[in-house]
């Protein structure tokens, strides 16, 4: 009875708060400060250590909102890896896609029965002229790509090449 009530209230909360992404497990791959807003200049509301398990609640730009214990805050997207199991390793389970912060159910695919592409498959691959011809008919011209961008409102922006980082002995957590 009590459980049922809890279930109902969760449902109600979800319905009232609109389309929210289901929280999914994640963990920190570096020490981070939790921010009150998705912005570097926002107030700090706490800190999370590398390896700490969090719940990923949402994303905005280059930031993700996480729940760490009782504290909720924003950290940089690139500081968080997804999946349960913390920094030590891979998530467990035979169903994948669930533990992501994406809500599309079609992404839940059972692993069982899917054999991956192997090196041997590539070695044995025989040249396929028909498929290559097909591929080459699908290519678009520079002018077509520009027209597509213009129609979409995609404007080319000036963005500098990222510098090559200095060599660091900074082993990030996790080997997935």
């Amino acid at each position: 009875m009590k459980q049922r009530f809890v279930g109902l209230s969760i449902l109600l909360t979800a319905a009232l708060s609109g389309p929210v992404l289901a929280a999914s497990p994640g963990s920190l791959i570096r020490n981070e400060t939790l921010k009150s807003q998705p912005s570097a200049t926002a107030m700090s509301v706490g800190s999370v250590a590398r390896g700490a398990a969090v719940e990923i609640i949402g994303r905005q730009g280059g930031w993700v909102q996480v729940q760490s214990g009782r504290t909720r805050g924003w950290v940089r997207l690139l500081s968080v890896r997804a999946g349960s199991g913390g920094a030590a390793g891979a998530g467990i389970g035979d169903v994948v896609g669930i533990a992501t912060n994406k809500a599309d159910p079609s992404r839940v695919v059972a692993v069982a029965g899917v054999r991956g592409l192997s090196e041997e498959d590539l070695k044995k691959a025989a040249f396929n002229p028909a498929e290559l011809a097909k591929l080459e008919t699908l290519g678009v011209t520079e002018a077509q790509a520009k027209a597509f961008a213009a129609k979409s409102g995609l404007k080319a922006a000036t963005v500098a090449e990222l510098p090559t980082p200095q060599k660091q002995n900074n082993q990030p957590g996790g080997t997935n």
Binding site: R30, L78, G116, E119, A126, F127, L135, P172
Partner: protein
């Protein structure tokens, strides 16, 4: 012994008269559609061996765009032999316009660019020299918007503009595959190039080194951002991949040839830091993103 053979091959190249190493001049492989008479076969093989050596030599220097395309085309044709295209022209066209627009930001307009979604549940993406870019249906299905697609394609476009696979060929080919005569002829297949690249599309299973992959991540993110997309597409895809179990068969080749996604995330984080904080207004077109039926 192998070394001796290699030196001999080099010596042959050095002592050869000055050739123009333009492939079209070099190649005079007989029409492969016609059945060859056994008597002519050995001559053809010799010719192919010579062509391969000459082609390999061009790799020592600056590879011409023409050669680059020819090598990439053969690799692409082989890869398509392992995995055909998804039979969905709308999907393929969509990926081509997005990809071509991202490629526009790379500054390489001396090549045609081709993009294809491969009919495989494996999770991976590939780039072959000369502008051939692929991603699998398995990876495409995990994407949730156009900015993510742009980021994935950006990474592959970066491999092509950095000429990573050509460099790999330069490092490894002569020793391992020079002069090998390979298999049957297929219509349109380029034997001299095939001799150079080993068996089938195995070069796509040979990993580039870690720094090369991380560099492609950095450049890929920048290309997508230059195209007007939300720069967080590729990082989001990498983050999504960190959630997959390590033993997932669909990622075994990806992880054999790439650093672990968590390491890629960390490295991108180091590189980007606060640099994109002022970069707002990038688009992700979640609503129009093409979903595979």
């Amino acid at each position: 012994m192998k070394r001796l053979a290699f030196i001999f091959a080099l010596a042959t190249l050095v002592s050869a008269p000055a050739y123009a190493f333009k492939l079209k001049d070099l190649l005079n492989v007989p029409d492969q559609n016609k059945t060859q008479q056994p008597a002519a076969a050995s001559g053809t093989q010799q010719k192919q061996r010579f062509d391969t050596q000459a082609l390999a030599k061009t790799l020592f220097g600056k590879t011409s765009t023409e050669d680059e395309i020819r090598i990439g085309r053969q690799i692409a044709g082989n890869l398509l032999g392992a995995m055909p295209l998804v039979r969905d022209d709308d999907l393929q066209r969509y990926v081509n316009v997005v990809g071509r627009w991202v490629a526009e930001q790379s500054g390489r307009n001396d090549i045609r660019w081709y993009f294809g979604v491969l009919d495989s549940e494996d999770i991976n993406a590939f780039a072959a020299p000369g502008g051939y870019v692929f991603l699998t249906k398995g990876l495409y299905r995990r994407l949730s918007n156009e900015a993510e697609l742009a980021g994935v394609l950006g990474h592959e476009i970066a491999h092509i503009t950095h000429k990573d696979h050509l460099k790999l060929l330069k490092q490894t080919t002569l020793i391992s595959t020079l002069g090998q005569a390979v298999g049957e002829n297929f219509k349109g297949s380029d034997q001299a190039v095939q001799n150079l690249i080993g068996n089938g599309a195995e070069i796509m299973a040979r990993g580039l080194d870690k720094d090369t992959e991380l560099a492609a991540d950095r450049t890929g993110v920048v290309f997508a951002a230059r195209a007007g997309y939300d720069p967080w597409g590729l990082p989001t895809v990498l983050q999504d991949l960190t959630a997959l179990p390590a033993g997932d068969q669909r990622t075994s080749l990806l992880y054999k040839t790439h650093p672990a996604p968590a390491d890629r995330l960390a490295a991108l984080g180091d590189a980007i830091g606060p640099r994109f904080d002022s970069l707002t207004g990038g688009k992700d077109f979640k609503d129009r993103f093409y979903r595979i039926r």
